[in-house]
């Protein structure tokens, strides 16, 4: 009973939590959201470029994209963040002063883009070749067909995987504490950790964990909802069809047979 009470103290000391809460709300949460949001935007844009390069017919685009992906997917996030954040710090100092955020965001974006590029590439590749053929048959160019028909469909198919990656990114944003943060730059994890170190009690860190969950769990549910909405369109549930008794469900039917499309 004694041990149990001690454990409860360690994790659920309301006093420690209440002490850490204001800083978490006013400093930690905005900083974590800033890091995650900017890295998500840059990482997604870079990821789309990587996916395009990876699908290119030119090996001079495919090959560098492959190497980039292998490198940034293969390195531990901590290594990348330290190498970029510390290694490029002299450059950063010259450009925007001692703030570690820009390089931290850059490092997070590079890591995220390697994964997101692969996610987008797999989605785009999963779109049936017959969709490209039908678009080209209308007279649209290859690039217009990719932009208007293939990429939108491919990206929709991998939205859940993309959000998974954003969740990983939100969690990895805690690693920028490696780069040394002044008090106002601390994000959720660092504030929780500081309070825990000062009080010898993990409750503040647990509170930081709850903040992370409060961001990530709704995100997964949001994407599932968006995913359904994109599949079904605005109409929502299945609508009765007055013309034909047999309504085909699902998206496109089977992909066309083994014929290749060789475009001029």
């Amino acid at each position: 009973m004694e041990t149990l009470a001690t454990l409860w103290e360690i994790f659920f000391d309301w006093e420690s939590m209440r002490e850490a809460l204001p800083e978490m709300l006013t400093v930690g949460l905005p900083n974590t959201l800033l890091l995650a949001l900017l890295s998500a935007i840059v990482g997604t844009l870079l990821g789309m470029l990587l996916a395009m390069a990876g699908l290119s017919r030119s090996r001079w685009l495919r090959w560098p994209a492959r190497v980039y992906t292998d490198v940034f997917r293969g390195l531990p996030a901590a290594v990348t963040i330290l190498l970029i954040g510390v290694g490029l710090a002299p450059l950063g100092l010259a450009w925007w002063g001692p703030n570690p955020y820009p390089l931290g965001i850059l490092a997070l974006s590079l890591i995220a883009s390697a994964y997101i590029g692969e996610i987008f590439r797999s989605g785009i590749q999963s779109v049936e070749a017959s969709q490209l053929e039908a678009t080209r048959a209308l007279g649209l160019s290859h690039s217009a067909a990719m932009r208007l028909v293939i990429i939108p469909q491919g990206v929709r198919r991998v939205l859940p995987a993309w959000v998974n990656q954003l969740i990983a990114l939100i969690k990895d944003s805690s690693l920028v504490y490696f780069l040394g943060l002044v008090a106002s730059q601390r994000e959720l994890f660092r504030i929780g950790q500081d309070h825990a170190a000062n009080t010898g009690n993990e409750s503040a860190l647990l509170l930081a964990g709850l903040f992370y969950l409060a961001i990530t769990v709704p995100l997964t549910h949001l994407v599932n909802w968006v995913d359904r909405w994109l599949r079904d369109g605005r109409a929502g549930g299945p609508e009765p069809d007055e013309d034909d008794p047999v309504a085909l469900a699902g998206e496109t039917a089977l992909p066309a047979g083994g014929r290749g499309t060789q475009h001029a």
């Binding site: 039908a134 209308l138 217009a144 994109l230 299945p238 069809d241 469900a249 699902g250 998206e251 001029a264």
Partner: protein, 261 residues
């Protein structure tokens, strides 16, 4: 290249309903191989303006490949394709395809767009019509295939027959001079085939030049001006439906017909 925005449907002088400004199609000695697989071995074809040619033959005979050579989704290794006597091989393929409508076995509508946007996409992108102009034209086309009331739904909510009629409207919206049909009813449930076939028959009656790959022999018999029997990449027999169906001259056509009729 003439790129004018001509109305798809114009009045015919004889007042027999709408007519289409179509062109003739011809292929000359078209050869095409996929690797070592010779799919087309010298195809000669002549389809006059406003005529309908039905291409029949066993699977693997090269029918679908032949259609794709006409709009250059596939490039022939040898031979030529002519529209109104002019070779298509030195034309810009994208501009060429705007004059040739194509309908696929699997419809290939864009599932992430509404029915309306499926039809307006090319009008907006290629004809550079305004949103209102494109919508008006598209709704008129959808009306012709009886699906105007489905303009705002996604294709996935439609039956196969409805999807194929939308696909036909999508192709017709670009005012094509020729229509290619690649087994347009093969993926449809039997009760939905009729609606699509009657739409195709209407088009043929209105003077559209059509190249129709089909397994629907009764359609070929009733609608085609010419039936072309393809086997192993060669035209084995071609002629008016009565001749091809009633009086097959080659053993292979006789055998094929005995299997499908």
């Amino acid at each position: 290249m003439p790129e004018s925005v001509t109305p798809t449907v114009s009045a015919r002088p004889d007042g027999a309903g709408p007519g289409y400004e179509s062109v003739s199609v011809a292929t000359r000695d078209v050869h095409l191989a996929f690797g070592r697989n010779q799919v087309l071995r010298g195809i000669d074809l002549q389809v006059g303006r406003g005529e309908t040619a039905c291409v029949i033959g066993p699977s693997g005979s090269g029918k679908s490949t032949l259609l794709r050579v006409v709009n250059r989704l596939l490039e022939p290794d040898r031979g030529d394709v002519l529209l109104d006597g002019v070779s298509v091989l030195d034309q810009d393929p994208d501009a060429l395809r705007q004059r040739i409508g194509m309908v696929f076995q699997q419809f290939n509508l864009f599932p992430h767009m509404t029915v309306l946007r499926n039809v307006t996409l090319a009008l907006r992108q290629l004809r550079k019509l305004s949103r209102d102009e494109a919508t008006e034209l598209a709704l008129r086309q959808l009306d012709l295939v009886g699906l105007r009331h489905k303009a705002d739904v996604r294709p996935g909510r439609l039956s196969g027959g409805q999807q194929q009629r939308v696909a036909i409207a999508r192709a017709l919206a670009m005012s094509p001079r020729v229509m290619l049909f690649d087994e347009a009813t093969s993926a449809l449930d039997p009760e939905l085939v009729k609606g699509v076939l009657s739409l195709m028959a209407d088009l043929a009656g209105q003077g559209m030049t059509m190249l129709v790959v089909t397994h629907e022999m009764s359609f070929a018999r009733q609608v085609a001006d010419q039936v072309v029997f393809l086997d192993r990449g060669r035209v084995v027999e071609a002629g008016p439906p009565a001749q091809v169906f009633e009086d097959p001259r080659s053993a292979r056509l006789g055998q094929f017909l005995s299997q499908v009729l």
